[in-house]
């Protein structure tokens, strides 16, 4: 029972953050709502027994990635979103379609997914086991992702660097 209550509380916080993200017009408010969603999700991960994922979620996602987002929003001085006219067809078909689709999906998941209940902290194994898996069974993917991150860093530096022509114009 307590498990269900904790799940519901953090689930409601999660959904509220996600809806607030959509409602807010200023990007900085959306970014901070995403931090709320990520924090609540980390609690859900802990509830499932995934301590490692919860820690990485807080450190990498809510920490590093969101700092990057907030930094860019402030760097570009992003203001309020401009209001543009949406298409009428999307409003006429999209909203009922979304409602029908999500109700259908929720019904299938709740009634016919054939899944059982999970206890609190159901995942077996401490973070030590995940480290062992990462450096044993998944060693090749792990090394490949390290190359990917290196390429991403270099790509970000190249893309965000000021082009030479602009620099010369400023100097001359």
């Amino acid at each position: 029972m307590l498990h269900l209550i904790i799940f519901s509380v953090f689930g409601v916080i999660c959904v509220a953050g996600a809806v607030n993200l959509l409602v807010q017009r200023h990007p900085i408010n959306s970014a901070l709502s995403l931090v709320v969603v990520m924090g609540a999700l980390a609690a859900e991960f802990l509830l499932l027994g995934a301590e490692f994922v919860a820690a990485v979620q807080v450190i990498v996602y809510a920490g590093a990635v969101m700092v990057l987002f907030v930094f860019v929003i402030m760097l570009l001085n992003a203001g309020e979103e401009e209001h543009t006219q949406g298409s009428r067809v999307a409003r006429l078909i999209g909203i009922p379609g979304m409602l029908v689709g999500s109700l259908l999906m929720a019904w299938v998941l709740l009634e016919h997914s054939g899944t059982q209940s999970v206890a609190a902290g159901a995942l077996p194994g401490p973070p030590k086991m995940i480290g062992w898996l990462l450096f044993h069974d998944y060693l090749l993917p792990f090394e490949v992702t390290s190359v990917l991150v290196l390429i991403a860093i270099m790509g970000a530096v190249v893309l965000a660097a000021r082009p030479e022509s602009v620099q010369r114009k400023k100097e001359g």
């Binding site: 995934a50 401009e82 999500s102 709740l110």
Partner: protein, 100 residues
């Protein structure tokens, strides 16, 4: 005990919010934030299924998703900075030409 389907529905709601924002928002940074929201919904589904089948591989996959998302955020934000430098706008409706 919480039914696994509750976790799946929560993941689905987060993903749906992400898709809605991706389609309706006009600010390029907000669109990017919505992509991160979708990835978070998927991560929750991964961990929930890992808990159901008592498999640790699900958590390893979530780790890889997070690494790729971090790399994607770094490159994507650099692209946004480059776009803003040439177009001086963040509205995707105004970024509709390949060549200036």
């Amino acid at each position: 005990m919480v039914p696994l389907s509750y976790y799946l529905v929560l993941g689905g709601i987060l993903f749906a919010c992400g898709v809605t924002g991706f389609l309706t928002k006009r600010n390029i940074i907000t669109i990017f934030i919505c992509i991160e929201l979708m990835l978070n919904g998927v991560n929750l589904t991964f961990v929930a299924f890992a808990a159901q089948w008592k498999a640790l591989s699900g958590q390893v996959f979530v780790f890889f998703v997070m690494v790729v998302a971090a790399a994607e955020a770094a490159v994507g934000l650099a692209v946004i900075i480059a776009v803003y430098r040439t177009r001086e706008t963040l509205n995707v409706d105004r970024v509709n030409l390949l060549k200036l």
